[in-house]
């Protein structure tokens, strides 16, 4: 037996051995584990290397590399990679949510909603602004949540779509969906879509067929891309010019300022075939693209590989359902929205088309040109009125700074007069007579403006009209008179502007608020008549017209010149200034030369339409408008009546000058103003006829007691001769008290006897002494008058009708006595100084010369020439070359005391003609 101590010693040995065994086991285990760990590390590194080489995204879906739950190597590697990815994707983590809310805000409603919510409904947005984005599909990035994919369009960006093989249906679906969203967003008429397909004549997007019958969708000829691009560049230039004129950088700014859409949105979808366009078209397209967005025009190019300037987003199809999009980047695949159901698109297109037609309301009428409330506009800066409609949208004519004068052209029957009525109606309805004054002249043999003056049937008149001239085709002088009047008014306004130290009408009106400074619009229909001859009228009219055209703009004096053919006006050859100032051009269908040579819009314009061009006729300025019927009976009259009831009390009736109607003496202002009796101041005047002038002015012969104050009427025409002597006698009689004047009439033309008798009776009724001397007693009577001259100081007027017939008798000379002719000569020579005046009618110039003898022409101070030649009159007109040939109902009047040159006169109607 061993003792306790020995047992303990043995125990220590056994324990040490056990401990050593364990420690050796641990050391061995540690070495083994170290090797195992190294092997694990290598395995993870190798797996990671494979994954990284493959790309994490792809490797994840690779069965040999993707995560394998339960496999520690795989688990360890993917855990590490996921951490790395999470670190990189931290910024993007809320990206999908942010994109979803951005699309919801920027592509609201139809622009972004699923089609079930809107397809088939007609939009109501007036289109002042457009959504910034339009949805096309969805996308997922790196396994994150899906987000909406949307592209900008309209004023933001163009869109370029590239198809892949066999994806034409998908492209069509994408385009159709985008267009349908746009068309369903805005109210009908706010969007115009133009489709062009290089490979197809008609069946481009067939579901839009219903819309292609309206202005909303236009399918263009595959061979005529140039026309579409021309049309668009025209729109761009016109819209750009209009915006700049209004001081706006773009249509968007103009819309914001005006609070109106102004122009429709336009989208052109061009389907190419993947080949580059021919160089010229490519340049055109690039030009259009660069300016289009600012004009509210967007392009969608399908397989047109032209690089466009400006903002372009791209969609490149991968297959039928997916695409790459420049909005999301080349590495994200977009799942395109499924195509809209074809039948529903057709139905929706039909609904929009129907709404559009309903909105346009069929043909517009004249009443649509008239505002709800009359006379609300001010003409400070310009005159503006719609004159017609383009697909229901009003088309304005602006007469103002940029377009001070208008030139209207169109052959007979093309609707020129109707257009003028639409224009005048629109203007008169918008501006009160204090804002707008009209001077209307029609050289046609018609009475187109006559209805605007008070007439027998209708007492109303157009209160804006100050002057209406009709049937003036033979009275070119009337046109001249109007131009003279306008030139005078121009000077008056210039002087007033100078006084107030201002330059424009608007400033003048501000500086002189109490003054009457309406804008003046002078309309001259068939104005080419004014320049029909090569004479002083043409020369003067040309220079006056040039002057007014040049300077009228700043003084608010505007010309509206209408003509059948402006090219034929010889007076303007080599003088383009007048036409150049007419920057507003209006071409009726088939009008020639009103627009520029290259502008053929008028050729194709349909009936009842007009091409309205504010850019001197260059093609891009064209607006084709349907002009409603303004000239049928009663149409304009209704508006005129309302305007008359509103304004007539404050504005007198216009002066009506009707070249076909002889004026009536007793109605003329000159006659009614003649003062009688003691009120007579100055000299008595014998009125002989009406002047061709803007105001109602008469020609008269002043009859002071001075040599030469006799009147000769020359020519065989009986009626005007009687008229002139009649009006001269009656007007003169009006100025004298009873007994202060004595009339002695002698009629040597039998057919005139009744008229002379009637005149004498009239004068007697008025209380004057008037006797008729038989022809055979004329010599004696002349001798008596001659003998009595200066004795009683009384005024005597000898009215001699057909003096030439008395000459044979008067020439007889008895021995020791003066012949009757000598006495007549003495009366002509000495009578006027004694208050004895001869108003004689000679039926030929030669007989007058015979009467007067050598050197007696100065005794005829005033003459009225009828059917005689001007060349015969020189000696009676202070030796001037006289341009005159007989004109029915007109006379040439010359008073050497007051006239520098003879002037055309209209004899008054004979009393029996007065009605």
């Amino acid at each position: 037996m061993i003792g306790k101590k020995a047992r303990q010693q043995r125990g220590r040995v056994l324990a040490a051995l056990d401990a050593l065994r364990t420690r050796i086991g641990l050391a061995m285990g540690a070495a083994r584990n170290a090797r195992a760990e190294a092997e694990f590390e290598l395995a993870t590194l190798e797996l990671e290397r494979q994954i990284v080489t493959e790309g994490c995204d792809r490797a994840r879906s690779d069965p040999s590399l993707g995560p394998r739950p339960g496999d520690p190597v795989s688990t360890a590697v993917w855990q590490r990679l996921d951490q790395v990815r999470a670190a990189f994707g931290q910024e993007w983590a809320d990206g999908p949510a942010r994109l979803r809310s951005l699309v919801a805000a920027s592509a609201p409603g139809v622009a972004g909603d699923p089609p079930g919510r809107w397809l088939g409904r007609v939009g109501a947005d007036p289109g002042l602004t457009a959504p910034g984005l339009w949805r096309i599909g969805t996308c997922t990035a790196d396994g994150s949540d899906a987000f909406d994919v949307a592209v900008p369009l309209l004023e933001e960006s163009h869109l370029s779509i590239t198809s892949a093989s066999g994806t034409r249906h998908a492209v069509d679906a994408l385009v159709e969906s985008l267009l349908m969203r746009v068309l369903s967003t805005f109210e009908p008429g706010a969007v115009r879509v133009h489709l062009w397909d290089v490979g197809q004549l008609t069946a481009v997007l067939p579901n839009f067929y219903a819309l292609s019958r309206t202005s909303a969708v236009t399918v263009h000829d595959p061979t005529r891309l140039v026309d579409l691009l021309d049309e668009f560049s025209g729109h761009i230039r016109r819209i750009h010019a209009e915006a700049l004129q209004g001081g706006h950088p773009s249509l968007r700014a103009m819309r914001a300022a005006a609070g109106a859409r102004i122009e429709p949105w336009r989208i052109a979808v061009l389907y190419g075939n993947g080949e580059e366009l021919e160089p010229e078209r490519r340049r055109d397209l690039q030009r259009v693209a660069s300016g289009a967005l600012d004009a509210g025009i967007a392009l969608i190019l399908v397989d047109v590989p032209t690089a466009l300037g400006g903002a372009v987003e791209a969609v490149r199809l991968r297959d039928e359902r997916t695409a790459y999009c420049s909005m999301t980047g080349a590495d994200l695949v977009v799942d395109l929205d499924p195509p809209l159901p074809g039948a529903q698109v057709s139905a929706a297109a039909g609904a929009i088309a129907k709404a559009l037609v309903a909105k346009q309301g069929g043909p517009r009428g004249f009443s649509d040109l008239v505002p709800a409330e009359l006379g609300q506009d001010r003409s400070l800066d310009e005159l503006r009125t719609p004159v017609g409609f383009d697909e229901g949208d009003p088309i304005d004519v602006v007469i103002g700074d940029a377009t001070p004068h208008a030139l209207i052209g169109g052959p007979s029957g093309s609707g020129k007069t109707n257009f003028l009525y639409a224009l005048l109606g629109g203007l008169a309805a918008r501006y009160s007579p204090d804002e707008l004054a009209l001077y209307l002249l029609d050289f046609k043999e018609g009475v187109s403006f006559a209805g605007l003056a008070p007439g027998r049937k209708d007492e109303s008149w157009l209160p804006h009209a100050r002057l209406i001239g009709v049937n003036v085709n033979t009275d070119r002088e009337f046109g001249l008179a109007l131009l003279r009047f306008l030139a005078d008014e121009l000077r008056r306004r210039s002087a007033a502007a100078k006084d107030h130290e201002v330059t424009t009408l608007a400033e003048l009106r501000a500086a002189d608020p109490d003054g009457s400074w309406p804008r003046i619009v002078a309309v001259i229909d068939e104005f080419q008549y004014m320049f029909a001859g090569r004479d002083s009228v043409t020369a003067l009219a040309t220079s006056l017209l040039e002057d007014i055209a040049r300077r009228g703009r700043s003084q608010g004096i505007h010309l509206v010149l209408a003509s059948q053919d402006v090219a034929g006006i010889e007076a303007f050859w080599g003088k383009p200034a007048v036409f150049e100032q007419c920057t507003l051009r209006i071409a009726m269908p088939k009008a020639r030369r009103v627009l520029t040579e290259a502008n053929q819009a008028a050729v194709t314009a349909p009936r009842w339409h007009a091409v309205i061009n504010h850019d001197s006729g260059v093609p891009h300025g064209n607006r084709v408008a349907h002009v409603p019927d303004a000239s049928s009976p009663g149409v304009f009259a209704r508006l005129q009546r309302s305007l008359w009831e509103r304004y007539a009390s404050g504005h007198g009736s216009p002066r009506l000058f009707d070249g076909a109607v002889a004026p009536v003496l007793t109605e003329s202002a000159a006659y009614t103003e003649l003062a009688a009796g003691p009120a007579l101041v100055g000299q008595p005047r014998a009125l002989v006829g009406q002047a061709i002038a803007v105001s109602d002015v008469a020609f008269g012969v002043a009859l002071p007691r001075a040599p030469g104050r006799n009147l000769a009427v020359l020519g065989a025409a009986q009626r005007p001769a009687l008229s002139i002597l009649d009006s001269a006698a009656r007007s003169l009689a009006r100025q004298f008290r009873q007994g202060d004047v004595e009339f002695v009439a002698c009629c040597l033309v039998d057919s005139c006897a009744p008229a002379v008798t009637r005149l004498a009776e009239q004068l007697q009724r008025d209380g004057h002494k008037a006797e008729i001397v038989p022809g055979d007693e004329l010599g004696e009577r002349l001798a008596a008058v001659h003998a009595g001259m200066g004795e009683d100081g009384a005024r005597r007027v000898l009215l001699l009708y057909g003096v030439d017939a008395a000459l044979p008798a008067l020439e007889r000379k008895e021995p020791g006595k003066q012949s009757g002719l000598d006495v007549l000569r003495a009366v002509l020579k000495q009578g006027p100084a004694h208050g004895v005046h001869v108003f004689g009618w000679w039926r030929s110039v030669a007989r007058l010369k015979d009467t007067l003898g050598f050197g007696g022409t100065e005794d005829i101070g005033a003459l009225a020439a009828l059917d005689v030649q001007g060349s015969d009159l020189g000696s009676f007109c202070a030796g001037q070359v006289v341009h005159w040939s007989p004109r029915p109902g007109r006379a040439l009047f010359f008073d050497r005391a007051t006239h520098s040159a003879p002037e055309v006169m209209i004899p008054y109607a004979l009393p029996e003609e007065e009605s």
Binding site: Q9, V13, A19, A27, R49, F88, E91, L133, E156, G329
Partner: protein, 130 residues
């Protein structure tokens, strides 16, 4: 900008399209950054794998040496107790699973110390105890 952008709360000079691209760009940025990391990681991994292979070789070598050393230690320990009839050698030491590779040198030190403890315990035996 019109009402649409106001509704989205985007500043007036940035269009929704630009804003969209900016946000969508973050996804692209994450992808691009990851791809760049992958490329650089590939090079890193080339080196790391090579190093890991060497490490395995070294570890295998160390393991083998440790095995033979352990065997020697155990033989020496058995020699020490061979003359002691009351000592049963028992089982050979086996690698212990739970041993930590990182503690390898400490374990080696512990073996050395354990051997000395054993030899000392044998030396400390009285003649009676032997």
């Amino acid at each position: 900008m019109g009402e649409w952008s106001e509704a989205s709360g985007v500043s007036s000079d940035v269009s929704p399209a630009m804003r969209y691209k900016e946000i969508a760009g973050l996804a692209r940025k994450a992808t691009v950054d990851l791809q760049a990391w992958e490329r650089s990681r590939m090079a890193e991994l080339e080196h790391a794998t090579a190093a890991a292979r060497e490490e395995i070789e070294a570890a295998t070598d160390r393991e083998q040496r440790m095995m033979s050393q352990a065997h020697r230690w155990w033989r020496m320990a058995l020699d020490n107790v061979a003359k002691l009839s009351w000592v049963s050698a028992g089982l050979e030491p086996e690698p212990i699973e739970s041993a930590r590779a990182s503690q390898r040198s400490r374990y080696t030190e512990d073996v050395r110390a354990g051997y000395q403890e054993l030899t000392q315990a044998v030396l400390d035996l009285s003649w009676r105890a032997r």
